[in-house]
């Protein structure tokens, strides 16, 4: 059996919040298991509210944070641990990030092309500056930018959309197999998001690169992903092929998310329950969504729900679903 491109097994990250004496422990990522197959490039979206743990998960995948327990493997090789793990350069050639705010992703004191050249020369893509210029020029062209217009400029001289494309271009230079994009379109206007997201599709086709697209924007997630994982308070509550999960959601939370997207042509007519203070929801025994769930029953509040396989590569963390499959 060949390795999965990305394999996450029982990943948990616990934070201690609050004061020294009275602090509580919060599982920002709670026993998450996900996989992206290696046979063809795919886009996996991780969708969730703020506080769902998706950003923490993204940071762990980028090795910017260490997990409390569980493992992450890329092409069969573990990300963490002493032995047999990725060397820095090797890792950087395999995985690259795209961050949420393009103006934060570059230092205001440096030109953006300094990062592009650094990536090209440090990660072994080009040996000389001239070679690097050629490579960078090509990659910028593939995201619709002209090297001449990018060279020598500082971040503030670009618009948000353009700068995000530079960011994506930089990530592509070492031809990574996986790009982790943490809310790459959230800082952009709704009308500009499609441009960036279309770019992902195009790049997946052209370069064969897979994406982990972390977002809270369901519409773009639906549009661009092959697979979707819905996260709530640190847990993956639903997983499956994007089209199916969003058009026929199984978990009540997914349904809530779908209802809350402001759709043109369909007005909101019902009231919804809003989230309580974060720490309260995180600390719930049983299902963390129970306090807001329309279908909640006693067992939901007392016990942690099981992960139920629904077939067709779909999974859901819910007691309601287990009724049907039992």
């Amino acid at each position: 059996m060949s390795n999965n491109l990305l394999e996450i097994r029982n990943l948990t990250k616990v934070f201690k919040t609050g004061g020294l004496v009275f602090g509580t422990r919060l599982a920002a990522v709670d026993n998450v298991s996900l996989a992206v197959a290696a046979d063809r490039p795919a886009i996996l979206s991780i969708v969730g509210e703020s506080g769902s743990g998706k950003t923490t998960l993204a940071r762990i995948l980028l090795r910017l944070q260490e997990p409390t327990s569980g493992e992450v493997q890329l092409d069969g090789k573990p990300l963490f641990g002493r032995k047999g793990t990725f060397a820095d350069t090797e890792f950087r050639r395999f995985v690259q990030p795209v961050f949420q705010n393009p103006f934060e992703a570059f230092s205001p004191h440096k030109t953006v092309d300094s990062y592009l050249y650094a990536t090209a020369m440090n990660l072994g893509v080009a040996g000389t500056r001239d070679e690097a210029t050629k490579v960078i020029g090509d990659i910028l062209a593939s995201v619709g930018l002209d090297l001449g217009k990018v060279c020598g400029k500082y971040p503030h001289q670009f618009s948000g959309g353009e700068l995000q494309r530079v960011s994506i271009a930089r990530a592509l230079i070492p031809r990574p197999r996986l790009i982790i994009a943490d809310e790459p379109v959230s800082a952009l206007d709704a009308s500009l998001r499609m441009n960036v997201v279309n770019q992902f599709l195009d790049l997946k086709r052209q370069f064969g690169v897979s994406f982990v697209y972390v977002t809270h924007d369901l519409s773009t997630a639906y549009y661009v992903s092959d697979y979707i994982a819905i996260m709530f308070r640190g847990q993956v509550v639903e997983f499956g092929p994007a089209g199916q999960v969003l058009t026929a959601p199984s978990h009540p939370y997914t349904q809530l998310l779908m209802d809350c997207v402001p759709k043109v042509g369909q007005k909101w007519d019902t009231e919804i329950d809003l989230p309580d203070v974060e720490t309260v929801e995180f600390a719930a025994t049983g299902c963390k969504f129970a306090s807001r769930c329309q279908c909640a029953r006693d067992v939901c509040r007392k016990q942690r729900p099981p992960m139920v396989e629904l077939g067709d590569d779909r999974r859901v963390l819910c007691f309601k679903a287990s009724d049907f499959t039992a």
């Binding site: 980028l62 910017l64 350069t89 950087r92 690259q96 990030p97 961050f99 949420q100 705010n101 934060e104 992703a105 570059f106 230092s107 004191h109 440096k110 990062y115 650094a118 990536t119 020369m121 440090n122 990660l123 960011s167 930089r170 990530a171």
Partner: protein
């Protein structure tokens, strides 16, 4: 508003330039080593031949003053540059790397901050009494002046290292050293410059204070030793204003010049940022 900062910076710069001139250019023209006693008649008032008169030791006050300015400035500059560079490198590295490196370096920083500098300096100066060159004096001053910029740099590094552009730089393959210097350093460079100017002030003042109480190298000519010798010879009582007055006024004007330059610079960079 614009005029205000310009005049401050200009005034400060003018004063400092004057001192630089007096300290580094003018001494080349001195007729002989002004430190040597009895080269000229004692206690003469100001005249064309002796611009500020002469001292009780038979030295030309004016030429002695220019040498004193030179040496004080050298001490100030060496201390400031070394202390700032060492402080920045240590502080940024400690903040950025974290872990054991941070703990060790912070221990070092905090120890030096906590140890009272004046008694140690007096001790060191007494041990080296009479034999310390101005370079050595500067060196000693560096030891007590690097922790402050180091702590500031560390604090900056700690807050900056979580910013996305640092991660971008890392994923661009940059080494920690490069990241420290090219990503983090620009954010504290203007503060560091201000601190450097301030350290010149502090160094000159510290050396001066030590000299006045008699623990610096008395054979050298610095603003502090000048005051020391003047006081030794009852210049105040004898109303030899030029001898004791000129180094005091010089120190004051030098400080004012440095202060104006530093605040003028920070005003200038604030208006550049659009405030």
């Amino acid at each position: 508003m614009k005029r205000k900062h310009n005049s401050r910076l200009l005034a400060g710069f003018a004063l400092v330039s004057l001192f630089a001139l007096l300290g580094f250019v003018v001494p080349f023209f001195s007729p002989e080593d002004p430190r040597v006693w009895n080269t000229v008649p004692r206690n003469l008032p100001a005249s064309a031949a002796h611009l500020l008169g002469t001292t009780s030791l038979g030295q030309d006050t004016f030429w002695f003053l220019t040498w004193a300015i030179r040496n004080s400035l050298i001490i100030g500059l060496i201390t400031a540059v070394l202390a700032t560079v060492i402080g920045l490198v240590v502080g940024l590295t400690a903040g950025f790397r974290g872990g054991t490196i941070d703990r060790v370096l912070t221990l070092l920083m905090d120890s030096f901050i906590v140890i009272p500098s004046l008694p140690i300096l007096i001790l060191l100066a007494s041990l080296m009494k009479g034999r310390a060159s101005i370079i050595l004096v500067a060196g000693v001053l560096v030891i007590f002046n690097w922790p402050w910029p180091a702590r500031q740099a560390r604090a900056s590094a700690l807050s900056l290292r979580e910013r996305d552009f640092v991660h971008t730089a890392w994923f661009s393959g940059e080494s920690p050293l490069k990241i420290t210097m090219r990503e983090l350093l620009p954010f504290i460079s203007s503060w560091a410059l201000g601190n450097l100017i301030n350290t010149v002030l502090v160094a000159v003042a510290t050396e001066g204070a030590l000299a006045v109480i008699g623990v610096s190298n008395q054979a050298q000519a610095t603003l502090g030793t000048m005051i020391f010798w003047a006081m030794q010879h009852q210049a105040l009582l004898a109303e030899r204003w030029l001898w004791i007055g000129s180094p005091v006024v010089a120190i004051m004007l030098l400080f004012i010049g440095l202060f104006l330059t530093q605040t003028g610079l920070s005003q200038y960079s604030a208006t550049k940022r659009g405030r």
